[in-house]
Symmetry: C3
Subunit: 296 residues, 3 copies
Amino acid sequence: MRSGMIRVVQQSLLGSILSNMLLVLGCAFFSGGIVHSNKEQVFNKSNAVMNSGLLLMAVMGLLFPAVLHSTHTELHFGKSELALSRFSSCIMLVAYAAYLFFQLKSEKNLYAPINEEGIQTDGSLDDDEAPEVSKWESIIWLFVLTAWISFLSEYLVNAIEGASVTLNIPIAFISVILLPIVGNAAEHAGAIMFAIKDKLDISLGVAIGSSTQISMFGIPFCVIVGWVWGHPMDLNFQIFETATLFMTVLVVAFMLQEGTSNYFKGLMLLFCYMIVAASFFVHIDPKSIQDKPGKT
Amino acid sequence: MRSGMIRVVQQSLLGSILSNMLLVLGCAFFSGGIVHSNKEQVFNKSNAVMNSGLLLMAVMGLLFPAVLHSTHTELHFGKSELALSRFSSCIMLVAYAAYLFFQLKSEKNLYAPINEEGIQTDGSLDDDEAPEVSKWESIIWLFVLTAWISFLSEYLVNAIEGASVTLNIPIAFISVILLPIVGNAAEHAGAIMFAIKDKLDISLGVAIGSSTQISMFGIPFCVIVGWVWGHPMDLNFQIFETATLFMTVLVVAFMLQEGTSNYFKGLMLLFCYMIVAASFFVHIDPKSIQDKPGKT
Amino acid sequence: MRSGMIRVVQQSLLGSILSNMLLVLGCAFFSGGIVHSNKEQVFNKSNAVMNSGLLLMAVMGLLFPAVLHSTHTELHFGKSELALSRFSSCIMLVAYAAYLFFQLKSEKNLYAPINEEGIQTDGSLDDDEAPEVSKWESIIWLFVLTAWISFLSEYLVNAIEGASVTLNIPIAFISVILLPIVGNAAEHAGAIMFAIKDKLDISLGVAIGSSTQISMFGIPFCVIVGWVWGHPMDLNFQIFETATLFMTVLVVAFMLQEGTSNYFKGLMLLFCYMIVAASFFVHIDPKSIQDKPGKT
């Protein structure tokens, strides 16, 4: 497994988070706001704050290895950040498991955050069985999604490099922006549909729930899988990528803190996504990362 | 047009945002809080959150070029950040136009955020005409203000350099701190007056509205004007300036999120401004920026 | 006084803030949430927001010298950041004094944020005298605590270096993580006890109040004391330490903004503390800081 491939996995996971938080949520807010322009759409604020908190925790997990690396204050240069990443990944997986458990237990389970099919869970089903089933379904779905992302990335890495040369587009732009737009098409359609039906909590569950899931489950899971297989994937996504994620999480957290949405908030998220996309269009990995033969 | 002049334009725009957000708003909160010390003053929270969101988006627009440049991960060193800045500026102008449109359309137009003369708009005028007129007035006012800033900067750049040598004060301090204090005197007086009259929404409109306007209209407008005239002005304000703006926006966003103010919040903003001012007093541009003959 | 000793003082102060905000508050939220799992615990939101604001201001005071230093944009390399730190420290002390005055004056003094023994202040005592006494007590307590920290640090610096060599643990980990856990044991026990008794405001007063006090009083006080004694202690805690504090303050501010707590929020803070601790375990000061003989 080449070093370049680890970067593609990292970048497509990052891109998936960015696209869910800005593009999918932005489109949902915008289309919902246009259809229901006579009123403010509301959603479950406390759930949104909890998700913002998890996303900030994920940013913390990614930020420290990147800062340690870029300030050259690691104990053993290059190796310490890998050990730290693996430890942090375990913590993040446990935190995500605790989050699922917490949602399972909390009676006022207003929406099933990861289950797109669970529309009926907000009332019409038996309260005792239905949510648990949807939880297990969703856990399985997590594994399937992650496996799919891993597989896709493995398969696509050569295609991406070819396309990058042919179309003269940086690899970063293809893996961070183009891939996730295609990959998130289903979630995208779902989130918009539910927003138009004024079921904004489900839209949020799809968009922000997916982001939380990828950042607190997908990324650490890939690090652990890489550990088992002997690949040096770590949480150091480099400073620029981490800064992008950080700003995105902050903007979205501020947009969500009120518990209301309108079409302008949606538009702002879309404009932010354009700025993010443009930034990745002029971004390349520094030579030191591209050329090195593998970090082990 | 020398490179030093672009820096003065950048820094006086930045200083104007900082002074509006910390000094003007701080004075307004403080004087309002002292006069009305028996109660908590309230303001329109959702409008404040919207403005915080726009300011965070502006920080995003400034942060990415600065991070790209300082991590040396641009596609074409020096040129890519200019292209990105011009693209982001267009996005920011469109976003600001959308914001004005959104405010125009929203019926519950509790205050006219950019129009200092529009005191009566909160009730006593005809609802159908008055706000639109004040909007158009304010749009014209935007152009006048921006032209004035541009003109002032062009005229003053030599004076600043002379003063800097004579008084032994860094250029950064003059353009970021001293110039905007003079330039914002009118807004300053207005914001304090309205806060004392317990019309905090108008104070906020003046202070935060001006900051939003400069960051989402003034700065991108200058970039576009520079593009038309062939000057390489970009959104890369350097890491330190961007970090200052980022922290300021965060502090103000946290102060505004509750929708209430008191004199201590005002004091805190003033203290923050003193720390910011002191930081710029010991800040100089690195040699590489000062000496280069122009970035084209 | 060796340069290494200043670092130990800086790091143990930083560690004390981190441990209060994440470990102590996390344990309080968690144990309170487990015992009162049938309901959401609430606390005084506006007080929490005020403390978040003060903490963000402290981050601002620490961030600017660190960024100035690391971007090499100081006026006089090495000296300017010391002057800035001393100025900022004075501002922070005045701001903290203003905060105490504000709390003293505000009638709805729901809790005495620094006084752990002041349980009765929330109603049962005479309103006119009791809070003032507890304030003066607390101010004395501030001095005692700071003196104790200074003394402890002076005494322990050799012990730490010895332990670091013997146990093969980085000095940073001992001073940032291990020392404060022992040092905060009393606050820790108090915060958990009050959370279990559903007096979450007192828990917050202990945990967040202590953090505010150390960051806005302890740290600047040490800088001023160092100034008087001729030691070059400044607010430049280096980029990694400042980034850690910044992320921690952000995460805690987002957790507090709703004014409610549950066991999952407590767990998240604990997990964040583990990630922070692990990061400091692989962190060493760069050679340039460790070896230099003193910054004067």
